[in-house]
Symmetry: C2
DNA sequence: ATATAGCTACCTATCGATAGGTAGGCAAAA
DNA sequence: TTTTGCCTACCTATCGATAGGTAGCTATAT
């Protein structure tokens, strides 16, 4: 899906808000005010909130996986290091939570299309990381469990580091994965 | 703080909603409707939302730590097993997120009193678990990092298991800690 | 014993602000 | 001439919060 200039700016704005306070923290009005249009015009680009929310999660997932490249592009150790570095960038450079970590926490209250896209983020990430762990010689099942372990640790590390306002905590937590 | 019958029911109701959808997902009106009083009466017990939110996090933290007992009550391995089991209960029996994991994810959007109580949850949990890891012979600093690691893994495991609607995933993720 | 005063735990009614969402118009581009 | 992208001008529902009132209990003072 290629988004127009305005649609992209809507998504940028919504993503920033959602990564700070979750699904209920972005609104058509606030997005519109931020990018300089009217809230009715936001509805022109995204008919309703669940469509916007699902688009948010989908774009985030695609960008995230694109940023990772192919799981076999380099040696397994290097790919694991890269994976952790992606989360580190999201936390330290953007100063924000992982969008799908946030949505995942509140998933039971999300409209179905948003919940489905959120699940897709985790499924695709487990697959990607699972391939890296398989390259390290693990069986398919064990590799997926290891992948889920690492993703859980990274999402949790983001929550703790942000809560305690201590970026070095994130680094110390993920030290085993670098 | 000892709460009256009604105040406790308000907290119960708000906690359930907050653990599903975060800080913005509980409202005075909905709580009131659920327990059979008017929203103005909820304000009688908790003057405003940030006071209610902070009380929520404080009660949750106290209950959680009370449920754990003293970190030196049994051997370190047993205490670690108990700690993980507390999260498992919250997830599997209640079918809900950790309240402070949820608040932690959205901490940058929370009123200060709520954010402070949320931080207190993590600080006190790291201290508790840190003592267990020290009992295993680790130095104070290393023990606290290990503690943060484990808490991060558990909070993350809750998010993944709930998102993917797979309770067995939680167990597989925390297998190393049991 | 009774009047006074204050507290508790609710109520009704309403406030301004904000939420998501819609109908219909208008100007420029295709 | 139709589509695109925005606008004005609304709507209904809900938000947190407040004002003012009431029934019933308790404690003190007369």
């Amino acid at each position: 899906m290629a988004y127009s200039e305005t649609a992209s700016r809507i998504l940028d704005s919504a993503e920033r808000m959602a990564r700070q306070g979750g699904y209920n923290s972005f609104s058509f009005r606030e997005i519109a005010a931020e990018i300089g249009i009217k809230s009715a015009s936001v509805h022109y680009h995204f008919a309703n909130k669940e469509i916007l929310g699902a688009a948010l999660a989908e774009r985030y997932t695609n960008r995230f996986l694109d940023g990772l490249g192919e799981p076999g592009a380099e040696g397994a150790d290097e790919m694991l290091r890269r994976y952790a570095a992606s989360y580190r960038r999201a936390l330290i450079e953007d100063g924000q939570m992982c969008l799908c970590g946030m949505f995942g926490a509140e998933i039971s209250d999300l409209p179905d299309p948003v919940a489905r896209q959120t699940r897709a983020f985790f499924v695709r990430n487990i697959q990607w990381l699972g391939q890296v762990f398989q390259a390290r010689g693990l069986g398919a099942e064990e590799a997926e469990t290891k992948a889920a372990c690492m993703i859980a640790a990274l999402e949790g590390a983001m929550i703790l580091s942000r809560s305690l306002q201590d970026d070095t905590l994130f680094d110390r937590i993920i030290e085993g994965y670098r």
